[in-house]
């Protein structure tokens, strides 16, 4: 069970001294991605000022317009205050104590996989990411982002044949500046919120996807994000553009090493969906969540928004949130095109001292737009799990339909589950429904399982998986298996 190879011995969380073997098993199984890869990293000194923004831009060899964008964002960020409205208890973040750029040191860009640092390959092997070309058969194109710098993108040639662009953000800036310039910040402006402004100022890399007209992307595109270096934050940007009649399914996975300091992850995801195009965005978020007493863990403050600009376009968010000390994000859909469809399926699990304030925003501005929200929250231990969502129907958006269902499951009597839906209907032809329930696993169900020889812990896992099935079914198959396992691991030891 222990494949933890923590080089930073004194920072490793202390395993509680318990005689009980089972508990020991459980605690050591806390977070299996908690290793640190010992590769040379190029880290700039901590702190943030205009020079740092310029330095990042210079290191990336960026054109002038992008530097301007960063500086505008930075200057705007200076005028903002840290938002406090969430149902979260966030310790004060010292933005001057974070290093805003950390990249695996590259001598020259690797030409083939053989030239990639073997340590790096090891890392991704440990994560189970099929980076090697031999895994072509697994049929997935992967862009791996480590400390917010894209290290390797696979299957590029094959995708290029179809005219699909799938590359790191910096490559996109270099090779397709017109596309990037046209779409960057068009969905999430740098003025959007505090963390969006911060990201716009200091983002180091990310992924860029462009699906041309009428192309159906033949494979799942996938990005793995990993924070490796200590004392750094991760600020990446993802920009996906699906042109008319295009289709793409995009996956995102996240892990981080175990450290007893908190690390900040403030990313931006922007999606543009044109006429009749469809984008499916799936996330399995498993950042390090901190230890049992809430030490360490990642602050996951992400702005994700899609603009369904085209008529009959469709955007579907699926997320499985099991990691992060604090999760604070609302993947949203702006349904601007007539007949656009927005979907949001989420499972958010919190255990120990984790906190989550997550949900979605569905903004209906086009006619006959439809949205579905299914959110399943599971809280255990001393965690707090909140759903917060907005459904807004604009005055001219006739014939809109929304259905929202958010269920919360409570495991244990010290955790909390909260629901804060905001429903704003400014049009009389809209039909908006919201339903929420909160309950615990019924004793009858547990008893039924026990009776058939299933131990309580397994029974809980079984019931929880059944409870989350509706969302899991929306995940691509490769991810569904992983997500299911994750759910089990996250909840281990949470049953008294």
């Amino acid at each position: 069970m222990k494949n933890i190879e923590d080089k930073d011995k004194n920072k490793k969380p202390v395993t509680p001294e318990k005689n009980n073997d089972i508990i020991n098993d459980v605690t050591s199984g806390e977070y299996k991605y908690g290793f640190v890869t010992d590769i040379d990293t190029d880290i700039i000194p901590q702190g943030l000022n205009e020079d740092v923004v310029r330095l990042i831009s210079q290191k990336k060899g960026e054109p002038e317009w992008l530097l301007e964008f960063r500086l505008k964002a930075y200057r705007h960020w200076l005028t903002l205050e840290v938002p406090t409205w969430a149902h979260l208890d966030i310790p004060e973040i010292d933005f001057q104590a974070i290093s805003y750029y950390a990249a695996p040191k590259k001598k020259e860009g690797p030409k083939s996989l053989d030239e990639v640092d073997p340590e790096l390959l090891d890392t991704f092997n440990k994560l189970g990411i099929p980076l090697e070309e031999q895994k072509v058969l697994s049929g997935m194109a992967v862009d791996a982002v480590m400390d917010s710098v894209s290290v390797k993108t696979t299957h590029k040639e094959k995708l290029a044949e179809l005219g699909i662009i799938f590359c790191s953000f910096s490559e996109a800036v270099r090779d397709y500046p017109d596309l990037v310039k046209r779409y960057l910040g068009s969905v999430v402006s740098y003025r959007d919120n505090f963390y969006a402004a911060l990201n716009s100022a200091v983002f180091s890399d990310g992924s860029f996807v462009y699906i041309p007209k009428g192309v159906r992307c033949p494979m799942e595109l996938s990005t793995y994000f990993r924070i490796n270096a200590a004392g750094t934050g991760q600020f990446e940007r993802t920009l996906i553009v699906a042109d008319d009649d295009a289709y793409v399914s995009y996956l995102e996975g996240c892990t981080a090493p175990m450290r007893d300091e908190n690390q900040l992850h403030a990313a931006i995801v922007e999606i543009i969906v044109e006429d009749r195009a469809e984008v499916k965005y799936s996330t399995v978020q498993n950042w390090y969540a901190g230890d049992k007493d809430g030490r360490g863990g990642v602050y996951n403050f992400v702005t994700k928004r899609g603009l369904c600009r085209g008529d009959n376009s469709k955007l579907s968010w699926t997320q499985v949130e099991t990691g992060s000390a604090i999760t604070w994000k609302y993947p949203s859909c702006v349904l601007a095109g007539d007949g656009a469809v927005g979907e949001f399926y989420s499972v958010a699990v919190t255990n120990n001292r984790q906190q989550a304030d997550t949900g979605t925003k569905m903004i209906h501005t086009g006619r006959n737009t439809r949205s579905t929200i299914v959110s399943k929250g599971i809280s255990a231990g001393h965690s707090q799990n909140s759903y917060r969502g907005l459904v807004k129907v604009a005055p001219n958006a006739d014939g809109c339909r929304n259905y929202t269902q958010c269920d919360s499951l409570l495991l244990g009597s010290h955790c909390g589950a909260h629901t804060f839906p905001y429903i704003d209907v400014l049009n009389d032809t809209a039909v908006v429904e919201h339903e929420a329930t909160t309950s615990k696993i019924s004793e009858d169900q547990i008893f039924y399982c026990n009776q058939r020889g299933i131990p309580t812990e397994d029974a809980v896992a079984l019931i929880v998986n059944g409870y989350a099935k509706e969302v899991m079914n929306k995940l691509p198959m490769e991810f569904a298996v992983e997500a299911q396992k994750l759910l089990q691991i996250t909840l281990e030891g949470s049953v008294g």
Binding site: L410, P421, N427, V432
Partner: protein, 453 residues
């Protein structure tokens, strides 16, 4: 200048007058309330909890406050239009913010029951009033603190241990003055262990030439195994704004029904804070609002489960027509340790016109695992199939719409336990949908019409 400062100014410069015309118990709370308001503002639109209603704007006009307690003569009989036929009630009036007993009030009352002017009871029996006055209301809320600072009189309802009130109490709030006026209304309701009472509150505005503002704070104490029903009906004018805040506390095994009905008015904001502090309480909270013209109705509920085995049920319905806007924000809070809680909340809204607007925000905040809680919210319009069905059977569209809207409100009306009132409410709602205010003609009571005199 914020709206609050004009009232603080009144208090600072006329404190002696205010205190002279009130009671010692009430005066003792003023300074603290005044201190809390220092440097504060009334909530504005967009503040968390006040998304769609600006209390600042509500209080901003230059309202007079009747601090000299000038007796404004009011013909109470005019308001008999809200009297409930086939139901005998113990009636009292509040004109603007002064208590006016009806002639028959005292001889009908069971032993020990007090229904009287709050200032009078506070002077005669300060121990009793100080035990309850200003004990529940949250003076951190600016509007409550403002009320505490300025309130000179109000109503005290005290039902002692074990007394079961056969007849309901009816309180008629009337606005009538020759200048814009703010009524600082205060209500203390105490229902002791094992006692039972029903209270019907009706809000009216007689002279709608001027603007009125009702700032009302109700504190209700429901003792062990006691039962209290509060039905609050607003039938005022579009020149009347109302901010009513109810704070209720329920002890073990008690029952509480609160039902707020907004038929006509200007800007209405109702807050319901209910604390379930003892085990095994039952709490039912209903709300119905019918909006038209430029009416704005904002209902806000906060049911706090602090103890085990309690049940709460909330149902709020809203029909909005023309340019009216509605808002609902409701919360269920379940504290750690409040095991076996069952709490439900439902908010249903109908938008009957293009420009009507609805904002809802139901919330659950739960810190305990052994609970059954749910909330639901819908906003939509009348079922097209049902409408078609009725029209195909020869019912004109307008008629069919009205019938369906009436039917929509039925389950809130059914929460009312007083039979006479239930019928009356049905009637009122029907009239309301036809755009009429209830009039004397419908009333079973024959009373004189001053205009004919």
């Amino acid at each position: 200048m914020s709206a609050l400062s004009q009232y603080i100014e009144i208090f600072d410069s006329h404190r002696a007058t205010i205190e002279a015309k009130s009671a010692e118990v009430m005066n003792l709370c003023r300074q603290d309330a005044r201190n809390r308001l220092e440097g504060k503002r009334l909530p504005q639109k967009g503040t968390e909890g006040y998304e769609k209603t600006s209390i600042e704007d509500m209080f901003a006009p230059d309202f007079g406050v009747n601090i000299n307690r000038v007796n404004i003569p009011v013909d109470v009989s005019l308001s008999f239009k809200c009297d409930v036929p086939n139901m005998s009630t113990i009636m009292a009036f509040v004109v603007n913010d002064s208590f006016v007993p009806s002639s028959t009030l005292h001889n009908k009352m069971p032993q020990g029951v007090i229904i009287d002017s709050l200032a009078k009871v506070a002077t005669e029996n300060p121990q009793l009033v100080s035990r309850y006055y200003n004990q529940l209301a949250d003076n951190d809320n600016e509007a409550v603190a403002l009320n505490t600072m300025l309130a000179q009189d109000g109503v005290m309802i005290y039902v002692p241990r074990g007394v079961v009130m056969e007849r309901p109490i009816q309180l008629v709030n009337i606005f009538n003055s020759a200048a814009p006026l703010m009524g600082v209304r205060r209500l203390v309701i105490v229902v002791e262990e094992g006692a039972k009472a029903q209270l019907l509150i009706c809000d009216h505005t007689q002279n709608s030439e001027y603007r009125y503002l009702s700032s009302q704070v109700i504190e209700a104490f429901v003792g062990q195994n006691a039962s209290l029903d509060i039905y609050d009906i607003e039938e005022s004018s579009d020149t009347t704004s109302r901010y009513s805040q109810l704070y209720a506390r329920q002890e073990r095994d008690s029952q509480l029904i609160v039902n707020g009905v907004t038929l006509t008015g200007g800007v209405t904001r109702n807050d319901y804070h209910i604390e379930l502090v003892g085990d095994n309480c039952t709490s039912t909270l209903g709300g119905m609002a019918i909006g038209s013209g430029h009416q704005h109705i904002d209902n806000n509920s906060d049911v706090r489960h602090l103890s085990a085995h309690c049940n709460s049920n909330q149902l709020f319905k809203c029909v909005l027509d023309e340019e009216s806007t509605g808002a609902f924000e409701g919360a269920i809070y379940v504290a750690p340790g409040a095991q076996f809680t069952e709490a439900y909340q439902s908010n249903r809204n109908l938008l009957a016109s293009k420009s009507a607007r609805m904002h809802t925000k139901p919330q659950l905040e739960i810190y305990n695992d052994d609970v059954k809680c749910s909330h639901g919210a819908t906003t939509g319009q009348l079922d097209a199939d049902a409408l078609f069905y009725m029209r195909s059977r020869g019912i004109p569209e307008q008629e069919a719409r009205t019938m369906l809207m009436q039917a929509f409100m039925v389950d809130v009306i059914d929460m009312v336990k007083m039979e006479g009132l239930r019928d009356r409410l049905r009637h009122l709602v029907e009239k309301r949908f036809y755009g009429q205010q209830a009039s004397c003609a419908d009333c079973g009571v024959t009373c004189r019409d001053p205009k004919k005199d």
